[in-house]
């Protein structure tokens, strides 16, 4: 455990720690582009310059291991001068098309220039021309002129995704990142290259030009795409959610997330959601306010007696399961609670990095709750019950992320046998229009609109906080359970749109204010 002094502060680090890691762990600022904690050391951007006492020249922090008694300084004039010029070398061939660059606002070059900029451009020659708007694959677009050749993305494809699509071709200042024609950047993790790109060279086709980043607020949550439960950051404003990025989590996802998880913000947005509840009696559908619909449905539920069944998918939080299961088993006195598992065949598959076959974030949580309430049922019981008429009313907590529920239509046909179906669902699904008899569709809150816990495949509790409100009138599963059981509930003021600014301790906002005043001004909901 060597001890060293960095900028006058004594620090003890593990053996073999490099200086930049030591500084990273202790929240000390150091300029860098090519170094990324999840990748190997390249040492090419030459920006993480430090001065070590006793060494005549400035060294790079990312490839220098801390030794006992080392005295390190990255605030001296010598270091600043070196970084200033290092940054200027990065910028002499950079096109400075910040106005149309998606990275503007969160760009490494912009950030470092504020601190180390030369503010005295001396480059009077023509810039090197390279390819612009290169289509690298189905998800990523490259702008070679903006690229600073930090090689992060190349190292990502060789070390993490191991797909080897990217390479740096040619040499000197003619070097360009690229793929080979026949082999585009097409893997399940390709968008991580966009995240780790410190400049706007790699941009996501999905997010490209849709918003300027300073119009977006961000908040952390847990991905509900599969049972891995990656920690993610969602970016949103009053128009809805725009993108999802991974957040470092040592135990679960490291620095990465898969491309499928990044698509999960889409079904949350208003255009894909049920805004009003629908009720079908006889032939046509009528639109009702969600709470009122739940109260209406309560009559059917409470009247059902022992012919009531509850079907749960693994997409809700532990707290919601606890509530709904306890209400149904205690107040409504039914033990007919079934687990709807969507993909039995692939449920245990795993791609070796992050993606798991179980596409429900909380299967474990659901099973644990059912176990806790001593409920053990089989799907075949439900089927036979429906066939025999032992089940007349079914409450279905439908899948939030229904992309992986290919059998919804089939299930709709199955539940139609019951006569009364109360379907709780967040995102629109055309299959639900086929519900017949006495049916309700009640809009639910999506995972970004509630606090809760998922229990992932490894049994880790993944707690998350509410991010934003998209459909304010929709219900959580707990609220719906209360209302269906005929209880009265108070809607908590937190879910009120007007006091949005007070919640989340404003941590995000303050950070943004430091970073960019416009976010504070315009990003407020």
């Amino acid at each position: 455990m060597p001890k060293c002094t960095i900028n006058g502060k004594e620090i003890e680090v593990k053996d073999g720690t490099t200086i930049i890691e030591a500084m990273h762990h202790h929240d000390m600022h150091i300029a860098h582009y090519c170094w990324h904690p999840g990748l190997s050391v390249a040492g090419v951007c030459r920006l993480c310059m430090i001065e070590i006492e006793g060494m005549p020249r400035v060294q790079i922090a990312c490839n220098t291991v801390v030794t006992e008694g080392m005295k390190i300084n990255n605030t001296s004039q010598k270091v600043k001068e070196a970084v200033k010029w290092g940054l200027d070398f990065h910028l002499i061939n950079h096109p400075l098309d910040c106005p149309i660059c998606d990275q503007a606002g969160e760009c490494g070059l912009q950030e470092q220039y504020m601190e180390y900029g030369k503010y005295d451009p001396e480059m009077a020659e023509k810039k090197v021309k390279k390819h612009k708007v290169v289509d690298l694959g189905p998800t990523v677009v490259l702008d070679s002129e903006r690229c600073i050749l930090c090689s992060r993305c190349v190292r990502f494809t060789t070390e993490v995704s191991k797909s080897n699509e990217l390479g740096i071709f040619n040499r000197g200042d003619r070097s360009e990142i690229g793929t080979f024609e026949e082999k585009p950047l097409n893997n399940k993790y390709s968008l991580n290259t966009v995240d780790i790109c410190p400049v706007g060279a790699l941009t996501s086709k999905d997010f490209r030009f849709r918003q300027r980043v300073w119009y977006l607020k961000d908040a952390e949550t847990v991905c509900n795409g599969c049972s891995t439960g990656c920690k993610v950051q969602t970016f949103f404003n009053k128009e809805g959610l725009f993108r999802v990025k991974p957040v470092y989590d040592k135990e679960v996802n490291g620095y990465w997330m898969c491309d499928d998880g990044r698509d999960l913000y889409k079904f949350v947005n208003r255009e894909h959601r049920y805004l009003k509840a629908s009720h079908r009696e006889g032939s046509g559908w009528t639109q009702v306010i969600p709470g009122a619909a739940a109260k209406e449905a309560a009559a059917a539920v409470t009247a059902a007696g022992d012919k009531l069944a509850l079907v749960l998918t693994g997409q809700y939080t532990v707290e919601e399961y606890e509530k709904i299961v306890s209400i149904f088993s205690k107040d409504l006195k039914t033990k007919k609670i079934y687990h709807w598992l969507n993909n039995k065949e692939t449920v245990n598959s795993f791609d070796g990095l992050l993606i798991r076959g179980d596409k429900n974030p909380n299967t474990k949580g659901l099973l644990q709750t059912l176990q806790k309430h001593n409920i053990s049922t089989a799907w075949s019981e439900l089927e036979s019950g429906l066939a025999s008429g032992a089940i007349k009313t079914v409450v279905v907590a439908g899948p939030e992320n229904h992309a992986f529920f290919k059998d919804i239509e089939e299930k709709v046909q199955l539940f139609n046998k019951a006569g009364t179906v109360i379907w709780l669902q967040a995102a629109k699904n055309p299959a639900l229009e086929k519900l017949s008899g006495n049916a309700w569709i009640i809009p639910m809150k999506s995972y970004v609109e509630k606090d809760g816990t998922f229990i992932n495949h490894a049994g880790q509790h993944r707690k998350f906080k509410r991010v934003t409100t998209v459909v304010s009138e929709s219900l959580t599963l707990g609220e719906a359970a209360e209302l269906l059981a005929g209880h009265q509930i108070m809607v908590k003021p937190e879910s009120n749109l007007l006091v949005e600014a007070d919640r989340q301790a404003d941590k995000v906002t303050v950070e943004h204010r430091k970073k960019n005043e416009f976010v504070f001004k315009r990003g407020a909901l």
Partner: protein
Amino acid sequence: MEMKLLTEHYHKDEFRRLDGYKKFGGYEVLKKALKMQPQQIIDEVKASGLRGRGGAGFPTGTKWGFLPKNNEPRYLLCNADEGEPGTYKDRLMMERAPHQLIEGMIIAGHATCSKKGYIYIRGEYNYIILIVEHALEEAYKAGLLGKNILGSGIDFDLDVYAGAGAYICGEETGMISSLEGKKGQPKLKPPFPAVQGYLRKPTIVNNVETLAAVVPILRDGAPAYKKIGTEKSPGTKLFSLSGNVVRPGNYEVPLGFPMKDLIYKLGGGLRPGRRLKAVIPGGSSAPVITAAEAESATLDYECLAQMGTMLGSGAVIAIDDSQCMVDMLAVLTHFYHHESCGQCTPCREGTGWLNKVVHSIVEGRGRLQDIDLLVKVADNMKGRTICALSDAAALPVLSFVTKFRDEFEFYVREGRSKVKGVSHAQVHH
């Protein structure tokens, strides 16, 4: 005058072949060396004070001593990627005496306990590759390579690897990358090649001349070798004389030899009516010195270091007074711009920047502040990168601009060369 320790028999054609080489005492030293302990050889080389002949001048024995004391497989690489403009000594050595190199490599391989060696030859030397490959074949047939060399129980395999045209592969880690089948980009140090080199195994990289020089050292003994040359730079060295001299060529002289003797006596001086203007003493990466400095310079590591330049690979390029220094600098900046591997930002962008500024001066678009800008940019490229290429690009710029500033200023003001009186824009495309 010339002291032919290595090049004694180079003029004889039979010296290229195994039987001819043996006739002049070839592979006798090997027999002696195989009986010695590896550490003994290292000590002998250390005692001789032999310094790397490739450019950096690092003591060879010390380098060998860096190898970790473990049983990992080791590699001995011979750096024959001779790309430094002005240098052509390795070419001569491999062409005239491939067996000398092979003998040196076997001895060095024994000293460093490596079982496998590679000779990395630049791809352009196509016929040299054939010569060396032929020599290796001969050596294998004679039992000088392979398993159990000459019945000593020592194994050593040697192979040739052809480069494909990249100056940067002359840098030892760049060469290792290239040998691993990657782009020839230098690797971060630490770890140094002696600890983790080729395929992350301990590796020793030496120049052709260094490895060949091991043979006379072991033949005559370290004390005898140390007597040659100066105290701190012992031994002889091949100097590749080129440029505006009457008799350019490779001359083996003891270190400490006066530069003016090399140029005027061995090289036959300049062409009639011409006077010496400047000398680049160690390949294009070495800072240039003026004619006045060249008068008093001696060819050894210390004297040239004192003058702010370096011995480098021993390529002495004489420039006479009919040459325009701005034009010559443009040639050099173009070279470094072309050869920068593109890994580290200061070098990748800096070499391009220097090249553009110098060419804008050559084309008559220069501004006076561009001259200072060249100094500033070069200053900030020095010592900021993984390998020494950015230093190599910066040093000539700094020395040309500071020592011949009047020519640059004249060119900027008048848009034409002070010496030739015309613009050089046409010559550069």
